[in-house]
């Protein structure tokens, strides 16, 4: 079976354009289908979070159950910078990404020599520590009430500035970040570095014996992924104009894992994008019908893990493959019949 040629990898693909087009037009149609614009903001923020998370889970095979911590650190740092120092969108974003980068780098030092269940357990432990700090350190984080009234300054480009007051404006701001992250990560996962991460996921020992410093690769992947989670956290605190500890709870960290897996992060770059969409639609559509929607979502997750660990993207890929193979099967049959006749 021919898998996939390592031909030139494009910067932009058809799937990518399709997703960009769907998202860029979202404010035009989302209300028509009975949803609301803020949902679009939320979905795209979590897509960014999920794509960064999947660098670790899907590509490197490292299950972090504590990524909410970095999302939260990004959100708090964005708010604190502006509350302590001054209102400036760009500096606050840089500061927040740096904060989650540093936190990620520190945690990565402790978890990078682990994998599998031990890796998962250690990330839970670190996640819980950060969550605990967020709740208990009242004077800085506002404790359980969170950090309120975080300013959402205009996006100032020197010669012109965008207000980000309305949900539509904010949506496009978040969308632009999404496009950048997609382009960046797409390149990254197809680069030599990305291939090494995939090699490490498949066989850490062999990667080591052909000369890769596995620890360092894991460390970089973890830190990058934490920084992207921090960026998503920044956007979330812009959206909410506040930062709250609940995104750092174990429960929230578990949900990003669920989203990524249901979508098919192990077999597709777009897995988290699909999974995030399913989650939010379940929350807002199923949520109207029943308060127990998360129970149903959890059940779908369990079934996915049991019967289709490759998720929605995996099912889709299989369906397409089966379609092409029936076509070729049909052609073989035709060929066979025509040779018989002759």
């Amino acid at each position: 079976m021919i898998v996939r040629k390592i031909a030139a990898q494009d910067w932009i693909t058809k799937e990518m354009l399709l997703i960009f087009v769907i998202l860029v037009t979202l404010p035009l149609w989302i209300e028509q289908i009975g949803l609301y614009r803020y949902l679009g903001v939320e979905i795209v923020i979590w897509m960014i979070y999920g794509l960064g998370f999947n660098l670790l889970l899907g590509y490197s095979g490292l299950p972090s159950f504590g990524h909410g911590a970095f999302f939260g650190i990004g959100a708090y740092a964005f708010g604190l910078f502006q509350l302590w120092f001054f209102e400036n969108l760009w500096l606050a974003i840089v500061f927040a990404i740096f904060a989650s980068f540093i936190a990620g780098a520190a945690v990565a030092c402790f978890v990078s020599h682990r994998r599998g269940i031990y890796f998962a357990l250690m990330t839970i432990a670190f996640g819980q520590i950060f969550w605990f700090i967020a709740i208990k350190w009242h004077s800085v984080t506002g404790g359980e009430d969170g950090l309120l009234n975080i300013p959402r300054a205009a996006a100032d480009f020197g010669i012109f500035a965008f207000d980000l007051d309305s949900n539509t404006e904010l949506f496009y701001f978040v969308f632009i970040v999404f496009v950048c992250i997609v382009l960046l990560l797409w390149r990254l996962v197809h680069s030599k570095f990305g291939k090494v991460l995939q090699a490490i996921r498949q066989n850490e020992e062999r990667a080591r014996f052909i000369g890769y410093n596995v620890w360092l690769f894991k460390w970089v992947a973890f830190t990058l992924s934490a920084a992207i989670a921090g960026l998503a956290g920044v956007l979330f605190s812009m959206a909410q104009q506040g930062a709250y500890p609940d995104v750092m709870a174990l429960h929230a960290s578990g949900i990003i894992v669920m989203m990524t897996l249901i979508g098919g992060g192990f077999v597709s770059f777009w897995g988290p994008v699909i999974g995030v969409t399913i989650y939010f639609l379940a929350r807002d559509v199923l949520g109207i019908i029943t308060e127990a929607w998360l129970l149903w979502f959890g059940l779908v997750f369990v079934l996915t893990v049991l019967f289709k660990p490759e998720g929605v993207a995996g099912a889709w890929q299989e369906w397409r493959k089966s379609r092409t193979s029936t076509v070729s099967g049909y052609q073989t049959l035709l060929q066979f019949l025509s040779t018989k006749k002759r």
């Binding site: 079976m1 898998v3 030599k192 090699a199 498949q202 990667a207 080591r208 000369g211």
Partner: protein, 248 residues
Amino acid sequence: MAPIFKASEVHKRFGDHVVLENINLQFKSDCLSGIMGPNGAGKTTCFNVLTGKYKPDRGRIEFQGEDITGLAPHEIARKGISRSFQTMNLFNEFTVLENILIALKEVREHGFDFMHLLARESEVAAKAEKILSLVGLSGKEYHRTSDLAYGDRRSLEIGVALAAEPSLLFLDEPTSGLGAKATTQLLDLIHRLKQKYTIVMIEHDMNFLFELADSISVIHWGQVIAYGTPDTLRDNKWVKQSMLGEGA
């Protein structure tokens, strides 16, 4: 001539199970050194200690005159030592070609390249092709590794080890599990590799080793119990005994 690789008084135990006891080995450049011995003798463990998977409890390991005792596997690999594994150890979801590419020195030196593809440079792809043709896998470049037949996986196992252009190549029972025909093909391959590489090979097939090796060390009960050329060892009572003891 000084040996390229030297292990002196190497000890290794797991818990209170002593697996290697006072191992002394020397491998000469441009030679094929064989290691034989019955199952469970400690041959694979010996490779594991020499290539950095385990640190020896005692002893000293030198490569090209440099002390490499206790270095990590990737550090030892980067000094020019490659190995294959007895139980196969490949990147199963990658294609055959990707398995080779990822192991190439040129790719390894750019592991932190976040931009460029695995085989962007045509010389790199050409090099991978050459290795694949050497181990007899031409035409299967784009097969998924997990779909390969057993014999092809064995060949790829060696191909991956070759990709780093090692100065010293360790092969752990490359014939294990192969049928007669595949074993003959492998014999031919190793004959060819012998022209270019310094090889240390563990092998349970006595005839195979007697035909190929310049010198042979026999390991039994975690010790080197005999050493010599195939001719001097052919009638060695330890060799006969240990090979009989191995059974089938």
